[in-house]
Symmetry: C2
Subunit: 192 residues, 2 copies
């Protein structure tokens, strides 16, 4: 999606440690007009997948997921992150290790809101190692539902998450794929 | 907002300990069509307040804030909750004590995204004791900006937060005001 790439080039800031700061428009301050266009693009990419539910994970994917859901005319289900050990029995859970934050957390979704008949589109803002996405896919599988696709705003294509997910055969679409980035030279995108 | 009250009557579940469960449509699974109507209603209520930015706090207010922002044609700024003590200098912070979760956390907003010229509408899903809202108002004040209003989806009017905020003179609007609730009798709303 050229518009998102141009916005990242213009307003994104590369910080040391492979950090891409897009807080001015994507995940701290949120440009809802851009979100709408991203939602429309996700609809174009997945409109034939029979999506009945969009699944995201708190917090920064929520706005993008809601924008997409308006086009799909389906609800958004937001998985929660918790570090607590005592969880009720009426939730699906999956353990996720975050390398960037160096901790393990548990992703939870209430069983009531994920029936086995759901065809799920997972949406999130960033894809790097993909661990959170594997946790969400695991939950969909536990529910007996189907992950019909994954839509990502920004993929760090130089990290392994995208390849790991594509290797499973899941239909993955990233609106912007960062091939390389550096403080000196900024961001380079992968060719389509 | 009658539509929201009716939805709470129909799909809300009162659990022991004054807990109102609205996870099926408001804050775990999200009905984006309802969100749109709520956003439109917030616009009707605050359209003459000169809103330039909507401020919310992660995570469950984000979707509603984004829906409202489409009507106001302004960005959403999402304050982060953190328990960390080492924060960068480029953020405004405010300490908030959560009685329900029995812990204190720090709310942060990047200084870059909250200029003193902003007229801020704060939006959140629930209002009970109001501590998170006072933290957000504190941050707006630190920035030298102005809180022009607060829009809430569900106010627990039998708790003190609403009165505390109205006592400051801030324009507060809650789309549904729960006057009382019990496991036996369900939810009663305050008269307008």
């Amino acid at each position: 999606m050229k518009l998102l790439e141009e916005r990242i080039r213009r307003d994104g800031v590369v910080a040391p440690g492979n950090v891409l700061k897009v807080g001015s428009f994507l995940n701290h301050q949120m440009d809802v007009e851009l979100y709408d266009l991203m939602g429309e693009e996700f609809y174009r990419l997945f409109k034939d997948s029979g999506v009945t539910k969009i699944l995201t994970i708190e917090a920064s994917g929520i706005g993008i997921a809601c924008a997409a859901a308006r086009y799909f005319k389906c609800p958004v289900l937001c998985a929660k992150k918790t570090e607590s050990l005592n969880l009720p029995e009426d939730v699906y859970t999956s353990k996720v290790t975050s390398f960037t934050k160096r901790k393990t957390y548990t992703v939870t979704v209430a069983k009531d809101y994920l029936p086995s008949t759901d065809k799920v589109l997972i949406i999130d803002d960033f894809l790097a190692l993909g661990n959170a996405l594997f946790g969400l896919m695991d939950i969909v599988k536990q529910a007996g539902a189907e992950t019909v696709g994954i839509g990502i705003a920004v993929e760090k294509a130089f990290q392994e998450g995208g390849d790991r997910i594509r290797a499973t055969g899941i239909h993955l679409e990233s609106l912007a794929r960062v091939q390389s980035m550096s403080v000196e030279n900024g961001v380079e995108f992968a060719e389509d």
